[in-house]
C-alpha cells in the first residue's frame, strides 16, 4: 500500500464524517483563536505602558492559562465522542485486512490534516479578529493613546506549541484505543446490552453533603474578606456536589421512582423512568459539565458586566473630590497649616483653578452598627458585618459653615447608610441626632468595601471624649484635605498631584481622580475583557456538548423507539415520550445552573464589594439580564440541535 493511499483515505474519512468532524474542528479553531488573541495582548509591549496595564496583563495571563486547560479538557472530550462514533468503521478496516499500524497511519494523517488546518484557520482568524478585539479593549478602557496592534510571533509560537501538544496527546490516546480494541467488540459496539446502573448511596451522600456545605458557605458569608477566603472552597464543593448529584443522585432518585409500582407502571412514567435511568447513566457527567459551564458563563459575565457598569459609581464613592490628600497619622495645627500652604502653592504654580477645598481632622475605626449604637469594635470578626466609622469635628474646619453650628451633644450622620434613630450612642457617649441622613460624604480610607458612617461632631473636645470612651478598640486619627477643581484645570491635575506627592512626606497620600479613574477603568475593563472571552468560550463549549449529546442520543434511541412502535406504541406516544425525556435532559442543567447562580449571589456580591462595587441593585439587574440572554441562546441552540435529533430518530 502506498503513501498516497493513506492520505486519500484520511481525507475521505474526514469528509465522510463531516457531521462529527466539523463541530470538532470548529472547537479547535475557536479555542486556538481565543488563545492567540489573549496571548497576543499579553505579549504586546504597549500594554504594560498603559495605566493599569500590569494588572491587565496579569489577568490576561491567567485567562490564557484557563483557556489552555479548558481547551485541552474539551478537545479530549469531543475527540472521545468522535472515536465512539467511528468504532464500527475501525472494525471494518481491521476485518478488511488493515493491520492496526495501518489504521494508526490513517489516524496520524487525519490528525495531521485536522490539526494543521485548524491551526492555520485559528491563527488567521485570531490575527484578524485580534485587531478588532484589541480596539474593543481600548474602547472599554477609555484610553486614547494611539497603540499599534502588531502581529505577535511569540504569541503565534506559544499557540502552536500549546495546541501541538494537545493534538499530539489526543492522537496518542486514539492510537492507544486502536491497540486495545478487538474488531469483534468494535463491530458489536452499542449492540451489547447495558447493565442497569446501580444506586451508589455513598456517592449520593457525599454529593449532597458537598453541595450542602458549599451552599451554606456561600449563603452564610457576611463580609467581603470571608467571601475571598471561602470562595474557592465553596466553588469546588459545589462543583463536586453537582457532579455527584447529577451522576449518582439522579440514578438514586429514578430507582426510587421505579420501586414505587403505582407510579412506575403508568403509561406516562413507564418508558420515561427507565429511559431516563439509562440516559442519566450515559449523560450525567456531560450534563453536569454543561451545568457547571453554564453557571460559569452566567457568573463571569454578570459580575464583569456589572463591574464595568458600576465603575463610575465606585470612582465617585472613592473619590468625592478631584484631589485627595490624606495623612493617616495625627497632625498638629502647625503641620496642618504647612500642608495647606504647600497645597495652595502647588496649585497656583500649575495654574489650577480650585473651586472648593475642605479639610478636617478625624477619627476612623472599624465599627459595629446596632440599633441605637455605633461603636468602634475591639476585634472585627469575619462572621460579623462591620462598618467603617468616622468622627469629624467641624469646629475650625471648612465644614463649620455648611453643617454648623452643633451643640456638644448633637451629631450629624452622613455616608451611604442613613441613621433613623433620634438618639445614638457613639463609642461610649450618647448624642441626639440632628440629621441622620445628611448629604455629607467624604472619601473613605478603605474604599467602599463596607458601609460607611460619617459622624460630624461639634469640636475637638467631643472627638476626644469619644476617643477616650472607646476603651481598647483600635482607633486611627488622621487629617484630610479634599480639593475640587474647575473643568478646565482638571487636565493639569495629575501633574500637580504627582509633584505634591513628591514634596510632601511619605506618610501623606495624594490621589488624583483622573488617575484613579483610569486605573479602575483599566482593571475593570481588563476583567470584562477576560470575562466576556471566557464566557464566550464556555458558551461555545456548552453549545458543542449539547450538539454532540443530541447526535449520540439520536443514534441510540432510534432503535428503541422502533421496537416500542412494533409492540403497540403510537407515533404520538413515542413523540411525547421522547420530548419529555429530551426536555428534561437538556433543561435540567440550565435550571440547576440558574439555581447555582442564585445561590452564589450573596457570595459574589460580597466579592464585588471587595472590588469596591456595592451597588446590589445593579448586580441584580446585570445577573437577571445575563440569565435571560443565556436562556434565549440555550433554547435556540436546543431547538436547532433537536431538529437533528428528530431526524435521526425518525
Amino acid at each position: 500500500m502506498n503513501k498516497s493511499f493513506y492520505g486519500s483515505l484520511a481525507l475521505s474519512n474526514i469528509k465522510k464524517n463531516a457531521k462529527n468532524y466539523v463541530p470538532y474542528m470548529l472547537t479547535c479553531v475557536i479555542s486556538i483563536m481565543i488563545f492567540y488573541i489573549m496571548s497576543a495582548i499579553v505579549y504586546n509591549p504597549d500594554v504594560t505602558k498603559l495605566l493599569g496595564g500590569a494588572s491587565l496583563k496579569g489577568m490576561l495571563e491567567f485567562g490564557c492559562g484557563i483557556v489552555g486547560i479548558f481547551s485541552a479538557i474539551f478537545l479530549f472530550y469531543t475527540n472521545s465522542f468522535l472515536i465512539k462514533q467511528r468504532k464500527k468503521e475501525l472494525a471494518l478496516y481491521n476485518i478488511l485486512g488493515m493491520a492496526k499500524r495501518h489504521v494508526g497511519k490513517v489516524f496520524l494523517l487525519e490528525t495531521l490534516i485536522t490539526s494543521v488546518l485548524s491551526l492555520v484557520i485559528g491563527l488567521l482568524s485570531g490575527i484578524i479578529l485580534g485587531k478588532l478585539a484589541f480596539l474593543l479593549v481600548l474602547k472599554i478602557m477609555q484610553v486614547t493613546i494611539p497603540m499599534k496592534y502588531v502581529f505577535s510571533l511569540p504569541a503565534c509560537l506559544t499557540t502552536v506549541i500549546v495546541f501541538g501538544i494537545i493534538f499530539f496527546v489526543v492522537l496518542l490516546c486514539n492510537l492507544g484505543r486502536i491497540r486495545l480494541s478487538n474488531p469483534i467488540e468494535l463491530l458489536a459496539g452499542g449492540r451489547q446490552g447495558e447493565k442497569e446502573p446501580k444506586t451508589k448511596w455513598l456517592l449520593v451522600l457525599i454529593g449532597a453533603a458537598a453541595m450542602g456545605i458549599g451552599y451554606y458557605l456561600a449563603l452564610s458569608i457576611v463580609s467581603p474578606l470571608q467571601a475571598l477566603l471561602n470562595f474557592f472552597i465553596a466553588v469546588i464543593l459545589v462543583i463536586l456536589g453537582t457532579y455527584l448529584l447529577f451522576t449518582a443522585g439522579s440514578i438514586a432518585l429514578l430507582k426510587m421512582l421505579k420501586k414505587n409500582k403505582k407510579f412506575y407502571y403508568k403509561t406516562e412514567h413507564f418508558t420515561s423512568v427507565s429511559g431516563m435511568l439509562y440516559r442519566m447513566k450515559r449523560n450525567a457527567a456531560g450534563l453536569a459539565s454543561i451545568c457547571i459551564l453554564s453557571t460559569m458563563v452566567l457568573v463571569t459575565i454578570a459580575t464583569t458586566v456589572s463591574m464595568q457598569m458600576g465603575v463610575e459609581g465606585v470612582i465617585n464613592k472613592n473619590m468625592p473630590n478631584d484631589i485627595q490628600i490624606r495623612s493617616y497619622v495625627k497632625m498638629s495645627q502647625k503641620e496642618q497649616q504647612k500642608l495647606q500652604n504647600q497645597v495652595t502653592a502647588t496649585m497656583e504654580k500649575h495654574n489650577i483653578d480650585v473651586t472648593d477645598m475642605i479639610q478636617y481632622d478625624y477619627l476612623s475605626a472599624s465599627g459595629i452598627k446596632e440599633e441605637g449604637s455605633l461603636a468602634p469594635a475591639s476585634r472585627v470578626s469575619l462572621e460579623e458585618e462591620f462598618a467603617e466609622m468616622y468622627v469629624i469635628p467641624i469646629e475650625g474646619s471648612s465644614l463649620e459653615a455648611k453643617y454648623g453650628p452643633l451643640a456638644d451633644d448633637e451629631i450629624i450622620v452622613g455616608g451611604d447608610e442613613h441613621v433613623t434613630e433620634s438618639v445614638l450612642k457613639v463609642g461610649g457617649k450618647t448624642f441626639s441626632v440632628k440629621d441622620g441622613a445628611s448629604d455629607f460624604m467624604s472619601a473613605p480610607e478603605l474604599g467602599s468595601m463596607v458601609d460607611v458612617y460619617f459622624v460630624l461632631v461639634a469640636n475637638d473636645k467631643v472627638k476626644n471624649q469619644i476617643l477616650k470612651s472607646a476603651n481598647s478598640a483600635p482607633i486611627n486619627e488622621g487629617y484630610y484635605i479634599g480639593i475640587d477643581l474647575s473643568e478646565a484645570s482638571k487636565a493639569r491635575a495629575a501633574k500637580a498631584a504627582e509633584e505634591l506627592s513628591k514634596e510632601t512626606p511619605g506618610r501623606i497620600n495624594v490621589e488624583e481622580k483622573g488617575e484613579v479613574s483610569a486605573d479602575l477603568h483599566g482593571i475593570y475593563g481588563g476583567l470584562l475583557f477576560v470575562g466576556i472571552f471566557l464566557g464566550f468560550l464556555f458558551l461555545v463549549a456548552t453549545v458543542l456538548i449539547i450538539y454532540y449529546k443530541q447526535i449520540t442520543e439520536g443514534y441510540e434511541d432510534s432503535e428503541r423507539y422502533h421496537i416500542m412502535q412494533k409492540v403497540g406504541m403510537s407515533q404520538t406516544e413515542v413523540k411525547k415520550s421522547i420530548k419529555s425525556q429530551i426536555l428534561l435532559v437538556f433543561f435540567l442543567p440550565l435550571i440547576v445552573a440558574v439555581i447555582h447562580v442564585a445561590g452564589s449571589f450573596n457570595m459574589m456580591s460580597k466579592l464585588l464589594a471587595a472590588l469596591q462595587l456595592t451597588d446590589i441593585g445593579l448586580f441584580i439587574t446585570c445577573t437577571a439580564v445575563t440569565i435571560l440572554v443565556f436562556v434565549v441562546i440555550y433554547v435556540l441552540v436546543y431547538s436547532l440541535t433537536a431538529r437533528e435529533y428528530y431526524k435521526l430518530v425518525k
Binding site: 447493565k195 403508568k266 427507565s274 439509562y278 416500542m564 409492540v567 403497540g568
Partner: protein
C-alpha cells in the same frame, strides 16, 4: 365465521429512485379460522414479510381488504392503529425486539402499561403465562442476562399478555439453535391446543411442519397449500419438502 379474512390484496411499492414500481403482492386471498395454526412459507422476496406487515396493520395494501372478525383493518384511522394492534394482535419477532432498558417482567408489561392496566391486574395476568412458558425465574433479569430461547419466550409472554385474537410470528425460530427452536415450537403447539390462533411466517420446514396448514407464497401469490389433516409430523415434513422443491423448480426458480 372466520377470524381473519384476507381478500384479494395487492401491494405495489414505488422505488425511491426512478419511480419504478415493484409488485410485492398480487391478489392474495385466504381465511384463517378461529383456533387455527397457520404457517406461511416462501423464498426471500416472495412477499411474506409484506403480507405479515399488512396483517399487522403496519402497512396498508394498495388494493383489497383485510377483515378481522368482520371488521376492516385497512380502514382503521392512523391514530387508532396502535391501540387496535395492542388490543387484537400479539407479535413475536425473529430478533425478539426486547428493550434492553427493561427487565423481562417490564418488557412483558409494556403493552399493558400502554393500555393503562393497573399493576395488580398485570401481575395477576403474568403469573399463569410465565408459568406456562417456564420463565418465572428469569422475570427480574435483563435481556442481556438471558439466552436467546429465554428471550423469545419472554417475547411470547409479551405477545400473550394482552390476550390477543391472533398471534403473528415472523421467523420466530430464525435466531435460535435447534434445541431452543424445538422448545419454542412445542410451546406454540401447546398454545394452539389451548385455543390460540397463530399465524407464523417461516423459512424453516421443521417449524412449518408443526402447523395445521401451510400456505406457500411465490411471486406475490398464494401458490399452494397443505392441510395437515391427520398426518404425522414426519409425513408433514416430507410433504412440505416436496412442495418446496416443486415450487422452486417448476415455477422457474430465480436462484
Amino acid at each position: 365465521m372466520s377470524l381473519l379474512d384476507v381478500k384479494n390484496i395487492e401491494k405495489i411499492y414505488t422505488t425511491r429512485f426512478g419511480g419504478q414500481k415493484v409488485r410485492a403482492l398480487k391478489d392474495v386471498s385466504f381465511t384463517v379460522a378461529q383456533g387455527e395454526y397457520i404457517s406461511i412459507m416462501g423464498e426471500s422476496g416472495s412477499g411474506k414479510t409484506t403480507l405479515l406487515n399488512i396483517l399487522a396493520a403496519l402497512d396498508k395494501p394498495t388494493k383489497g381488504e383485510v377483515l378481522l372478525e368482520g371488521k376492516s383493518i385497512v380502514s382503521i384511522k392512523e391514530k387508532d392503529i396502535a391501540e387496535f394492534r395492542r388490543n387484537n394482535l400479539g407479535f413475536v419477532f425473529q430478533d425478539f425486539n426486547l428493550l434492553d432498558t427493561f427487565s423481562a417482567e417490564d418488557n412483558i408489561y409494556l403493552p399493558l402499561v400502554l393500555a393503562r392496566v393497573s399493576h395488580k391486574e398485570m401481575a395477576a395476568r403474568l403469573q399463569p403465562i410465565a408459568q406456562k412458558l417456564g420463565i418465572s425465574d428469569i422475570l427480574k433479569k435483563y435481556p442481556y442476562e438471558i439466552s436467546g430461547g429465554q428471550k423469545q419466550r419472554v417475547a411470547i409472554a409479551r405477545a400473550l399478555i394482552t390476550e390477543p385474537k391472533l398471534i403473528l410470528a415472523d421467523e420466530p425460530t430464525g435466531a435460535l439453535d435447534s434445541r431452543a427452536s424445538d422448545q419454542l415450537l412445542n410451546q406454540f403447539s401447546q398454545l394452539n391446543k389451548d385455543g390460540q390462533t397463530i399465524l407464523m411466517v417461516t423459512h424453516s420446514i421443521q417449524a412449518a411442519s408443526k402447523a395445521g396448514r401451510v400456505l406457500f407464497i411465490k411471486d406475490g401469490q398464494v401458490f399452494h397449500q397443505i392441510y395437515r389433516g391427520d398426518m404425522t409430523g414426519d409425513q408433514m415434513y416430507q410433504k412440505i419438502s416436496t412442495a418446496l422443491t416443486a415450487l422452486s423448480t417448476g415455477g422457474g426458480s430465480r436462484e
